[in-house]
């Protein structure tokens, strides 16, 4: 009996010890979990509190439940004033989601009008989602004021339009001046010959040419406007091209091969206009590859002495009339026939050059851009050995 009692005590002690160890382990686990949860909550809270975007949660009747400091800043309210207020006053479009629809899962974004407490309007980028709680469906939204971006973008677009128009007008005026020059010479020859002396139509024609000449010469005096070009990272411009080009090429079964070495120096260009030129070249390639057996566009870049060259080559049938390639209003062109003409004018506007390279199979164009800070490019190019390819070290 004594033995049985001792065994019983031993078993009891063992069980107590085991349980106490297990409880200690559970306690440690729970403590670790609590610590981890607290850390996660702290991080989440810090993320929300320090976020530059306004973050709000709302009930099914669009009353704000919680908001971070950025939300107060965005809507022009003092801390603590938002809970209980309807979001419909500030982001009307968000309040138009039907309450019954809140049960449906939303995870989307929209751009809409926002209004601060003082009535000031702003452009809001709203990312919102729905979630369910025991108290019913909830709406969570992240709101960003995109007004400054909109203003920057629109002003930049306007500048771009004006700059592009100046280049277009300049290029066309140049052609008109050439023609006017020829007419004026012929008019002068006729004046000197005396054949049409006293002919009123002839004299009127002379006056008309002179007027047209004056109009076309205005551009010469207006080219002192501030240049739009600056030092740009060519790789970034090519990344932009990749984003625009690749989906279209993928749809058209055209392979695009990139050979862009790292460490290219910054070049002197206007990023937006350079992208337009690259798009013009690649869109031409896309058209040329419609019926080609091998459909591929190769885009490469290489740095030479004071210049970076970007080459766009396609495996299409090539180009017929090379001498007239860059002349405006080309017959047979699929659109206006101004694409290459304008592209060259754009590239030349930032002291670069656009040329066709007939030595390559298919069709190959090269854009040469001055390395930013290198003022010698132009001297080298125009003072080279009489060919357009003299500047590039390959």
């Amino acid at each position: 009996m004594v033995f049985a009692a001792l065994v019983g005590c031993g078993l009891f002690a063992y069980e107590v010890t085991r349980r106490s160890r297990r409880e200690a382990a559970d306690r440690r686990r729970v403590e670790l979990e609590v610590t981890a949860r607290r850390e996660a909550e702290e991080q989440l809270e810090f993320l929300i509190e320090s976020s530059p975007a306004a973050i709000l949660t709302m009930s099914a009747d669009f009353l704000v439940l919680r908001a971070n400091p950025a939300a107060y800043r965005l809507l022009g309210l003092r801390q603590g004033e938002l809970p209980g207020k309807s979001i419909r006053k500030y982001i009307p479009a968000l309040g138009r989601v039907c309450p019954s629809e809140l049960r449906q899962a939303f995870r989307t974004e929209m751009q809409c009008r926002g209004e601060r407490d003082n009535g000031e309007v702003f452009l809001a980028n709203v990312f919102f989602s729905t979630y369910n709680t025991a108290a019913g469906p909830r709406l969570a939204a992240m709101v960003v004021d995109a007004s400054e971006e909109l203003r920057d973008r629109e002003e930049s677009n306007l500048e771009q339009l004006l700059a592009g128009s100046r280049i277009l007008v300049g290029a066309v005026s140049h052609e008109v001046r050439n023609v006017c020059g020829a007419i004026a010479i012929m008019h002068e020859n006729l004046v000197r010959s005396g054949v049409l002396s006293g002919n009123q139509d002839f004299e009127g024609l002379g006056a008309l040419v002179e007027t047209l000449n004056r109009i076309a010469s205005m551009e010469l005096t207006q080219s002192s406007s501030r240049p739009q070009a600056g030092a740009i990272d060519l790789s970034e411009a090519l990344d932009d091209l990749r984003i625009v080009l690749e989906p279209c090429c993928h749809e058209a079964d055209i392979a695009v091969r990139w050979d862009i070495p790292g460490g290219l120096p910054p070049v002197w260009a206007d990023r937006h206009r350079l992208l337009q030129v690259l798009l013009n070249l690649t869109k031409n390639s896309e058209r040329a590859l419609r019926d080609a057996e091998v459909k591929r566009i190769d885009i490469s870049a290489s740095a030479g002495k004071g210049v970076v060259s970007v080459r766009v080559t396609d495996t299409g049938p090539g180009i017929g009339s090379v001498p007239k390639l860059f002349q405006p209003f080309q017959q047979g062109a699929e659109s206006t026939g101004l694409g290459l003409y304008l592209s060259r004018a754009f590239v030349r506007s930032f002291r670069g050059e656009l040329r066709h390279d007939p030595s390559m199979p298919g069709c190959s164009f090269v854009i040469e851009l001055a390395v930013a800070g290198n003022d010698e490019l132009h001297h080298e190019r125009v003072g080279g050995n009489g060919t357009n390819t003299a500047v590039v070290d390959r």
């Binding site: 052609e175 050439n178 020059g181 010479i185 501030r226 860059f326 125009v382 009489g386």
Partner: protein, 214 residues
């Protein structure tokens, strides 16, 4: 003294032919030939004695300046008068740098061209006043292009405001300037970095292209 021997280089045939007829009427001028390309012209100056080349700058796929440098290398010692529908300031200064004796704009009175030719033959230089104005403007433009990539104190302050997510108005209030002044500084930053929006600017700044924010 013999007649001044001229070579016309222009890819516009009608202009070239018309000019040839016009100058042929001048008793002291003689048009030796007219060419449409640099290669033809180089061949002509190698063969004929030419006193002055009347040279268009824009020759389709080629530039007049190519002719000047190639002709000089080939031993041509005569003069060159650019006769152009328009050249940029940079192109003009390059042409003069390479040894052109003048720049004549095509939209000027054709009668003046003979005067310019005679002036150049006498050792003077003829540059159209509009071209001089363009070249003067170019000096300012070069200053703009040489803008230091380093940020001014004000640009640093505006950039800091953008990092803090402030609007132009808020940055202006913080710096005690109008939001228009902030916008102007922002435009300078855009110009320096080649970007168009503040979010692109933030990325460029973070990548360190503007130097570390102070």
């Amino acid at each position: 003294m013999g007649r001044i021997r001229l070579l016309l280089i222009d890819d516009h045939i009608l202009f070239r032919d018309g000019l040839s007829r016009l100058l042929a009427l001048e008793p002291d001028l003689e048009v030796v030939a007219g060419c449409g390309t640099v290669a033809e012209a180089l061949e002509t100056v190698g063969r004929e004695r030419v006193d002055i080349v009347l040279l268009d700058y824009d020759l389709g796929e080629d530039h007049g300046s190519h002719f000047v440098s190639a002709a000089r290398r080939a031993g041509y010692t005569g003069k060159v008068l650019m006769v152009t529908a328009g050249m940029s300031a940079k192109e003009s200064s390059t042409a003069l740098h390479l040894g052109a004796s003048g720049i004549f704009l095509k939209h000027n009175s054709p009668g003046t061209l003979a005067k310019a030719v005679r002036l150049i033959m006498s050792g003077e230089i003829w540059v159209d006043p509009k071209v001089i104005q363009l070249m003067a403007d170019r000096v300012d433009q070069q200053e703009d292009e040489r803008v230091s990539p380093l940020l001014t104190e004000r640009e640093q302050q505006v950039l800091r405001g953008i990092f803090e997510g402030l609007t132009n108005k808020e940055i202006g209030a913080q710096l005690g300037v109008t939001d228009g002044a902030v916008k102007a500084t922002l435009q300078q930053l855009f110009q320096k970095t080649g970007v168009r929006t503040r979010s692109q600017l933030v990325r460029i700044a973070l990548e360190g292209s503007l130097g570390p924010p102070r």
